[in-house]
């Protein structure tokens, strides 16, 4: 049985730390979510455990972390549903070919570079219970992630969501996210069942079958929600409970199929009716408690698992620096070059690169999965968390540096004037249809 008083105290402390740190970060023009990510690290062994080990051990005893983690995972499930809900898959189909190219380049290049980096990291940071193929595939996937919700948040705070740069970055990040999650599902199956011959293939067929049923079976039935909403202007508590029940069932199915709970929640969100009002209604109902109360618990659990102390010695810090360099060069460089190739001016291309390098919460989600399935070690996990936080922290200053003196609204005009009528013009503006939806989840 959990110590309820302790659990409530933990939640209160986490909530307070996240609110305060989030506000401080907003003060220095960083998104609140970056502050909340840092709050998690502050509460973990890296800061609190180092400054006041006794207080840290009393507040977060090892035996209590399981309950905190369970709560945070529940919040993460709903959050992933919201991320899926914010994505308009039909809009993605309309993306221009250059948007697709930028997105694919920003996946392939970091993936290959991450896999190559695994050659250096595997003998140093892994062990013989993990195969090199699993390790390198996971590193590739973790390097190629873009935090779609955080990106939307940064763009909104910089008043760039409706700019050309913003729409391009949002469209690319959305394609990245969908591709990234599919890739990760595939890799998880390979990692979990890599010793069992035909089983991965059967699991992948099972997952594909489940996705098909969800999209064409459940998805079409869900259209009734639109009618209910259109008739009453709201959903009854019973209907809302049904939606949540479907999210949980979908999550359970993907877990049972051998991938992860979060995939099911994400898929459920993605197949929800595209009615904008209905989606906003669901956001309004589910987002506040998820983002304000439950998501900070995920940051806290992530922070409690992150320990800078396990990164010790010159070699480990070299590994840490390499992780950051390869992740940034791979993501920022590839997106920038692909954007330039599409006809953008260097400045705008660099802007796309800086935005695509935003890692945020999505990276943390993937890293936590990696740690749970033990494909990455605690030290590598801590390095990757540092990379995720640093890369996300870099986004706003990098954008400001790139667009020095021409920030916010003027970015559109400058970039448009710079880029003229390059081939990219086909892709511009395709993402506006779902940009409004995706800006809601703040993680």
């Amino acid at each position: 049985m959990p110590d309820l008083s302790l659990l409530v105290l933990q939640v209160a402390v986490v909530l307070l730390a996240c609110r305060v740190t989030g506000a401080l970060f907003q003060f220095i023009y960083q998104p609140r979510v970056v502050g909340e990510m840092c709050a998690g690290i502050l509460l973990g062994p890296t800061v609190l455990g180092w400054i006041a080990p006794a207080a840290s051990a009393r507040l977060f005893p090892a035996s209590s972390i399981g309950y905190l983690n369970a709560l945070s995972q529940l919040g993460l499930l709903v959050f992933m549903f919201l991320v899926g809900l914010g994505m308009n898959v039909s809009e993605l189909k309309k993306s221009g070919k250059w948007t697709l190219l930028i997105s694919h380049a920003s996946i392939v290049v970091p993936f290959v570079l991450g896999s190559a980096l695994a050659l250096f990291l595997y003998p140093r940071l892994s062990d013989d219970s993990v195969s090199f193929v699993s390790f390198s595939m996971f590193m590739g996937a973790a390097m190629s992630i873009t935090a779609f919700p955080v990106l939307a948040r940064i763009l909104r705070e910089l008043n760039m969501l409706d700019t050309r740069l913003g729409t391009i970055a949002i469209a690319c990040a959305a394609i990245d996210d969908v591709t990234g999650w599919c890739l990760l599902a595939y890799i998880i199956v390979l990692i979990r069942f890599d010793h069992s011959g035909i089983r991965p293939l059967l699991i992948l067929l099972g997952v594909a079958g489940f996705a098909w049923i969800m999209v064409y079976g459940v998805g079409s039935q869900l259209r009734r929600l639109e009618k209910i909403y259109a008739r009453a202007g709201r959903l009854s508590e019973g209907t809302l409970a049904l939606v949540l029940l479907l999210v949980l069932l979908s999550a359970l199915c993907t877990e049972k199929l051998g991938i992860h709970l979060l995939f099911g929640a994400f898929l459920m969100g993605a197949i929800m009716p595209r009615n904008k009002e209905l989606r906003l209604y669901l956001f309004d109902r589910l987002e506040p408690i998820t983002v304000t109360l439950l998501l900070p618990l995920f940051f806290a659990v992530t922070g409690l698992r992150t320990s800078i102390a396990v990164i010790h010695g010159r070699e480990m810090w070299l590994c840490c620096a390499l992780v950051l360099i390869v992740a940034t060069v791979g993501k920022l460089g590839s997106s920038m070059l692909a954007s330039r190739l599409s006809g953008m001016e260097w400045r705008e291309a660099a802007g796309v690169g800086a935005l695509m390098n935003t890692r945020g919460l999505m990276e943390l989600v993937i890293l936590n999965i990696g740690l749970e399935i033990k494909v990455i070690s605690p030290a590598l996990y801590s390095m990757m968390v540092l990379m995720a936080v640093t890369a996300t922290l870099m986004t706003t200053p990098a954008l400001k540096m790139i667009y020095r003196g021409a920030m916010a609204g003027s970015v559109t005009d400058d970039a448009a004037a710079d880029s003229g009528s390059g081939p990219f013009t086909q892709g511009a503006g395709t993402a506006t249809g779902f940009a409004h939806g995706v800006q809601r989840p703040t993680g």
């Binding site: 595997y122 062990d127 219970s129 193929v133 390198s136």
Partner: protein
């Protein structure tokens, strides 16, 4: 042909991406030949085969040691050793070289035994047998700077392997 020339930049970029993806083959082939350190992660049960464990009076963790369990949390060549229920903060980092592991664990004395310094260290040195299933190790446990505590040889077997890849 005209279509090709019209889209040559785009097609060229995609060909480059496919070429990059093809580079995964050599990477994976080369990686398969790499050797990672032996896995230590998880809970181990040990028993003394020769000598005696350091006295409880000497070491605060004496009672934990007497439960005969230790937990390892590993990151490549380095690891943390957690004795029984001792919190992670009390863990100490050790190193793995080949199949040999060494760790020096600082332990504050509960009661000062004669011949013991205030700050003592528990030294563990062991050799892992990677071929055995479940994995096992043999080694010595000793308390440094405590002549009264002695040392012992032990044999340990991993009881809870990492629940990683099912």
């Amino acid at each position: 042909m005209e279509l090709f020339f019209r889209h040559r930049k785009f097609l060229g970029a995609y060909v480059s991406l496919v070429m990059m993806l093809l580079a995964l083959g050599p990477i994976l082939r080369r990686g398969r030949a790499l050797k990672a350190p032996p896995s230590l992660n998880g809970a181990w049960k040990f028993e003394v085969t020769n000598g005696q464990l350091p006295e409880p009076g000497c070491l605060a963790a004496g009672t934990e040691l007497r439960r005969g369990t230790m937990n390892f949390s590993q990151s490549g060549n380095s690891f943390s050793l957690l004795l029984g229920g001792v919190a992670p903060g009390a863990a100490s980092m050790g190193v793995i070289e080949g199949h040999q592991l060494r760790v020096s664990l600082p332990l504050p004395p509960k009661d000062h035994a004669p011949g013991c310094n205030e700050v003592q260290r528990l030294e563990l040195e062991a050799w892992i047998d990677s071929d055995s299933e479940p994995r096992s190790m043999t080694g010595t446990l000793s308390a440094r700077e405590c002549s009264a505590c002695g040392s012992s040889q032990f044999h340990a077997v991993r009881t809870v392997a990492p629940a990683a890849q099912e």
